[in-house]
C-alpha cells in the first residue's frame, strides 16, 4: 500500500550512554492492529515517545501521516494513551472527558466516548479518587475523544482486572474495525496473540522480529519435541539430533544415570519425529508441544542476547 500511517527511518535515540532506540526502521500501514512487544527497557516507550513527537530522535526521522508528529496531532489524527500520561486532579471524570472532546479538532460527543470507554458510571467521580484500572479507562477515553486515524496505547491494560480487560479489548476491536490503525505496547503476550494482526518484537532498541503472531512463532520454532534417550537403547551422536529436519534449537542435558534429556525446537515437528526413528533412535517419554507466543518471544529475545554476546 502506498499510504503510510507512520514511518521510522533509521531512528536512533540515546539517553546518556544508554541506546534506547537503535536504528529503528518501520512502517505502519492503515487499518493494521500492531502489537509492540519487548522486555522492560527494550525501547518500547521511547519508540512511542519518538512516534508522538514527545522526544526528538538523535538520528533518522519519524513521520506520521507523511508529516511531523506534531502536525498529525494538531490535525486530530492521533490519539494516545501513555503510561506516563497523567490525569488532571480536582475535576470530575465527565469534565475531563468533555475537555478532551472539546479540544479535539474532530471531537466526539463526551457521552459517547464515556460509553465506549466503559466509564459512564464513573462520570461524576473525582479523577483523584479512581482506582488504577479506572484511571486507565479514563486515559483510554482521552485517547478516543475524537475521530483519530491512529491510536497509540502503551501498556493499556495494566491494572485492569480480567473482565475489564476483556471489555477494553472489545472497545479496541471496535476502533480497529472502524478502520483505525492501532499500535499498542503490551506485557501480556496473549493480548498480542489474540488481538494484533502484526507483532513487532523490540529488544535492546532494535526490531528483531516483525510479522503475524503465527510467523513469529514459526520463526522461534513453533513446536517443541522433548524426549529421553536411555543408554540401554544405544548411543546417539548430538550431530544426528542437530541434523533432524526442521530443528532450530537443541537443548541436551545428561543426568547422572546416563539418561539424556533432549528438547528440540522445530519448525516441522512431524518430520523431526519421523527423522528420529529413521536415525534408529528410540525416544522415550516423547512429547510434542506447541510453543505459545510467550515462549516464542523468550526464544527470539534470548537468541538476540546470545548473538550480541558473541
Amino acid at each position: 500500500m502506498s499510504t503510510e500511517v507512520a514511518a521510522f527511518r533509521q531512528v536512533s535515540k540515546s539517553y546518556g550512554a544508554v541506546r534506547a532506540v537503535n536504528g529503528l526502521d518501520l512502517v505502519l500501514r492503515p487499518g493494521e492492529t500492531v502489537a509492540l512487544l519487548g522486555p522492560n527497557g527494550a525501547g518500547k516507550s521511547s519508540s512511542l515517545d519518538l512516534l508522538l513527537g514527545l522526544r526528538e530522535p538523535d538520528q533518522g526521522s519519524v513521520s506520521l501521516f507523511g508529516g511531523s508528529p506534531r502536525a498529525a496531532i494538531e490535525a486530530g489524527r492521533v490519539g494516545a494513551m501513555l503510561q506516563s500520561g497523567g490525569l488532571l486532579g480536582e475535576v470530575k471524570v465527565r469534565e475531563l472527558v468533555k475537555f478532551a472532546c472539546g479540544i479535539h479538532p474532530r471531537g466526539h460527543h463526551p457521552a459517547k466516548v464515556m460509553e465506549q470507554a466503559g466509564i459512564t458510571d464513573l462520570a461524576e467521580r473525582k479523577v483523584d479518587k479512581l482506582s488504577g484500572g479506572q484511571e486507565q479507562r479514563v486515559r483510554f477515553a482521552l485517547a478516543i475523544a475524537g475521530a483519530n486515524d491512529l491510536i497509540v496505547l502503551d501498556e493499556p491494560t495494566t491494572g485492569m482486572d480480567v473482565s475489564v480487560r476483556q471489555q477494553f479489548w472489545a472497545a479496541m476491536r471496535a476502533e480497529a474495525e472502524a478502520g483505525r490503525t492501532v499500535l499498542f505496547a503490551t506485557h501480556y503476550l496473549e493480548e498480542a496473540d489474540s488481538i494484533a494482526d502484526r507483532v513487532l518484537v523490540l529488544h535492546r532498541g532494535r526490531l528483531i522480529a516483525d510479522g503475524t503472531s503465527a510467523e513469529i512463532k514459526a520463526k522461534a520454532g513453533a513446536r517443541r519435541i522433548s524426549f529421553e534417550l536411555h543408554p540401554a537403547d544405544g548411543a546417539a551422536e548430538e550431530s544426528v539430533l542437530r541434523a533432524l529436519p526442521g530443528t532450530v534449537g537443541l537443548d541436551l542435558t545428561t543426568r547422572p544415570d546416563g539418561v539424556r534429556s533432549v528438547r528440540i525446537r522445530s519448525t516441522d515437528a512431524d518430520a523431526g519425529v519421523a527423522g528420529l526413528y529413521r536415525a534408529g533412535l528410540y525416544p522415550r517419554a516423547l512429547e510434542v508441544t506447541s510453543l505459545g507466543l510467550e515462549q516464542a518471544f523468550l526464544t527470539i529475545t534470548g537468541e538476540a542476547d546470545e548473538e550480541s554476546a558473541r
Partner: protein, 241 residues
Amino acid sequence: MNTLVQLEILRTLRNKRYLMFTVLYPALLYVFFINAYGSTDTVAGGVSVKAYFMVSMATFGAVGAVLTGSAQRISLERKSGWVRQLRLTALPGRAYTIAKIASCAVTTLPAIVVVFVIGAIEGVSLSVGQWLGLGVALWLGSFVFAALGVALGYAAQPDAVQPIVMIVYMLMALLGGTWFPVGDSLKTVAQFNPVYLYNQLATFVQPGQSLNLTAVAGLAGFLVVFVAGAAFLYRKDTKQA
C-alpha cells in the same frame, strides 16, 4: 484554549485549602494588624494603618494566590504527566501556561476584593475612581508574580517547590513592607524587591501623590526577566519530557 482556561478556573475555585490560604488568611491578618497597630495610628509618613495594611494584605494575598497557584501546580502536573498528556492534544504548548496564568488572575480578584471590603467597612475612605484604580493596579501587578510562579514551577520538583515558593514569598514580603513599613535604611535594597514595588503601586491614592512610575518601570523589568526565565525553563522541560 478557552476550554482549558475554564477547567483551570473551575479547579482552582474548587480547591478549598487554596482559597483559605489566599483569600481568608490575608483577610484575617488584616484584621489582626489593624488591631495590633491601633487603628487610629499612621505609618510610613502619614498613611493610616487601615489603608496601609489593606494594600499590603491585598498584595500579600494576590502574590500568594499566583505563586502557589502556578508554581506548585505546574511542578506537580509535570511530575504526574498531565503536561505530557496535554502535549498529545491539539492544544499549542503555550496554552497550558497561559491557562495557568489566567486562572491565577481570576483567583487574585477575590483575594484583593475581600480585603478591600473589610477596609471599606473599617473606614478606609476612597473615591470610586481610586477604589477601581487601586483594584486594577494591584490586579495587573499580580501578573509579574504569576510569571515568577510559572518559572519556579518549571525549575523545581514538587517536593522542593513548596519550600522554595514559601521562602521566596516570605522573604519578599518581609523586606517588601507587607507586615511592617520598610524603614529608610532598607529602602535602597527594597527597590530590587518586586513585592516592595508592587506595594508602591498603591501610593497614588495618598493625598498629593501620583502613580509611582519608578515602581511601574521596576515591575515591568521584573516581568520581562520572569517571563524570559519561564520561557527558557519551559523549553528546557519540553525537550526532556
